[in-house]
Symmetry: C3
Subunit: 344 residues, 3 copies
């Protein structure tokens, strides 16, 4: 149950730097690679000759060469050549729209005619030298919607992330949520608190006094099909919070790009974009390591929750005010899926 | 195929000493924990909020706090509180009768109205200072009835446990079996033999000459739903065997408490209770280690047998006189299951 | 989808040297062992007493003794004895025809009445002192027909085995194929080339100049149900190739005996028979090691191809001229399976 007419992250560029990559996206088994002039391409991972995965092959002169018998495949899914064979009649492979942008390779697993690069999510920090980014990827065995729920209701930080980003005041603030077209925003402002360990370390890295009282904020934005971008930060108390001057705050954007692999597993691309000390690679590595630990704390919970849901798929869940963001995001997704069904 | 209106061991106290435990008993996914005043409790392992397993949470002030968003659950399955929420309307969880007794935590996975602590198995040694106990637990992938068969027909000792408790004379003695209501007893007396290695070591531990000729006995008692208690021992030959004076014998009770996890897997709680040198902790550790090795010898056989049965579930088995104990135990279980069916 | 009225390799003699072996052949779970006078036997791996696998037992005085309760089984599937029991009425096990020949233990998983040792594949080198053999066995998760395809179309050597037996000229030569009754032969002659690394090493081992120009040949012979025997070699150029005098060539027979375990897994017995320097055990070990590496290169491809086929079982494959050998072999197998169906 996921929209297929949408852009999903297939991989990061380093994953296809030296060889093609086999990856399942929305139940489609793909091979992702760089064709002529390094342009990214995605095809069915199936050699038209004997059904071997093309991802076990190699890219030679911009063509994807099957590792079994040397069939040469073009980016459009048409066989270019094969030793000793005439290939004109070979059935073409399905080709998936693919675009490299914002530091990711995106694919469109649905109807290629509707693919439009203008529909890619807008990640302005990715191409702005005043910003930097560090992140990673996890494979998680859960429905992608459980991950969206997780990210749109940050009251879990107090419990799951008690030693890093959680703090007692978190669930005393009722979040404010709003639906804006297909996007959903949930905001929480936590004024006059001490920074929890993750943010204290970030303040130190940014040259701020980590013992100061701060105003903290979280603004979670769900963007379909399965992306959550979260403005997060702390500012010295009383300086305007989110709107405080750069000199008194430490902030960034938590980036969560979720790609369903199957109905119950995901590729989870995560990271933090920041505009303080962007040139400090050691700080980037330190933040990335801390964030990796935080997200790993979620994995056991999400996979256990999925096992529970799989055992009792019909059992009802409660939707409280804190769940509003996730519930609305699910409604958006549901509507998109129904639109796709109706159009077929 | 197991009685559900019965007490089963869910865990030992050390398994819930510091945190709740998730455990499946008779296909029911439970969370077991200590509530107010340390009283044990068992509930469905499902948070009524979003279906996360409560076993990933923590016990705080006698309440089970969900590790995801902090819902506080009581021992009765009713939500006590949740940060920022009114919880009165939250659907209650199913609560399972739970009792701590004889060094185990017992749960009743069936109809709570029929649960009665008086139906717990009688393990008098557990609370008698003249006795001590050492044991452990294994997870085994087999139908619990294969384990009962194993324990009610000890002719397998000669083959499976040739180097520990087996001895050539074992299968020369035809066992005597009897059904007493819902219990089944199989006895075997082996007069005038040398003690096999396990018992020779126990005799040495008990200050007896391990080279002496002994009379050996085994009295296996099946107690439903799935417990087998075995009086075992050796006495200097001609002194009365089982009834010999304490000074000339070394004996104990093999304790086998079997809890079905699913139709084809069990939690197997095993141990030895003894009334010789109960204060000798080193001897307890040594016996426990030896017994652990003996029971591990059974595991490969039982799991392989289960794989064979799963591959050919309809294929008939032979029931010989040596199988009488297991066959009668299966009949008791079958009758109990049919009674439960009829009552529904 | 495999013929069952056929001889398949169950194991090598060393696998049953000290104890019985449990092995599944064509979906039949077998125990293979040596009975009286060391004669090989194969039975259902199921003790008629309680369904334990007999393969966990031991052979004692030519009888297979169950490792659980000591039932003694004869090679004909009839219970010989059991401690304390009369066994005349015990249901017999199915016994499978078994023969030891050519260094292998062969079983006939189908109708025993049709088993005939005369139908065993002819492997004359196995019993000829002028020849020697080195080989091994792999378990591979693929349909046995994918392995036959692999062996009957050696154009894959250039891609899968680029650093050992592959060479650029391989796919420039169109192979010649022919069907001879139930066997299929595919020939390829590659004149005037340099020996690839595997063959260069073999030439050195055989005392030939490994830098010389050679004529190379491959003659793949499929013999049902699932054997492929390949005449391979190199001779100094212009000396007659396959027919060159022994002094100027290095050659052998690649032996591939494939036993389906299930529809999608095989036991793959491979090796090289050679008639040069048969007494040189170090050379045998060196060739065996090199060949093991070559065949391991195929495993990832075959198992990945199988996963692709399992995901899209109805998807069509192309059958090119290079696939002729495998396609014809599949037709032979198909015809044999249909003959078996018609006869039932």
């Amino acid at each position: 149950m996921f929209p297929k007419n949408a852009w999903y992250v297939a991989c990061t560029p380093d994953e296809i730097a030296t060889r093609p990559l086999g990856r399942t996206v929305c139940n489609e088994r793909l091979v992702v690679f760089r064709g002529p002039e390094g342009k990214v391409a995605a095809l069915e991972d199936w050699c038209p000759h004997r059904g071997a995965p093309l991802s076990l092959g190699a890219v030679v002169d911009g063509k994807l060469v099957c590792g079994y018998h040397g069939l040469e495949m073009g980016c459009d899914g048409k066989t270019v050549a094969m030793p000793g064979q005439r290939v004109r009649g070979f059935a073409p492979l399905r080709s998936y729209p693919a675009v490299e942008r914002h530091g990711y390779v995106w694919v469109w697993p649905g109807d290629a005619a509707q693919a439009d690069a203008a529909k890619l999510p807008h990640l302005p920090w990715a191409d702005d030298p005043a910003w930097t980014f560090g992140g990673g990827m996890f494979h998680v065995r859960c429905d992608y919607r459980l991950m969206i729920d997780n990210l749109m209701d940050l009251t879990h930080e107090k419990y799951v992330h008690a030693t890093s980003i959680g703090q007692p005041e978190l669930d005393e603030i009722v979040p404010q949520s709003a639906v804006e077209g297909d996007t959903v925003v949930t905001r929480r402002e936590i004024p006059g608190v001490k920074a929890p360990p993750f943010w204290a370390a970030a303040m130190r890295g940014n040259g701020l006094d980590d013992s100061a009282t701060v105003d903290r904020w979280q603004r979670c934005r769900f963007v379909p099909p399965a992306n959550v971008l979260i403005d997060v930060g702390v500012a010295l108390a009383g300086q305007g919070g989110f709107d405080a001057p750069a000199a008194v705050k430490t902030s960034g954007i938590v980036v969560d790009l979720i790609t369903p692999e199957t109905e119950t597993s995901i590729w989870y691309f995560w990271g933090l974009a920041r505009n303080f000390k962007p040139e400090d690679a050691a700080l980037t590595a330190q933040i990335r390591e801390a964030q990796s630990k935080v997200f790993q704390e979620d994995l056991e919970m999400l996979e256990s929750q999925q096992r529970n849901h799989s055992a009792q798929p019909e059992r009802a869940l409660l939707s409280l005010n804190t769940d509003y963001g996730g519930v609305q995001a699910r409604k958006v997704v549901q509507r998109l899926v129904e639109q796709e069904r109706a159009a077929r």
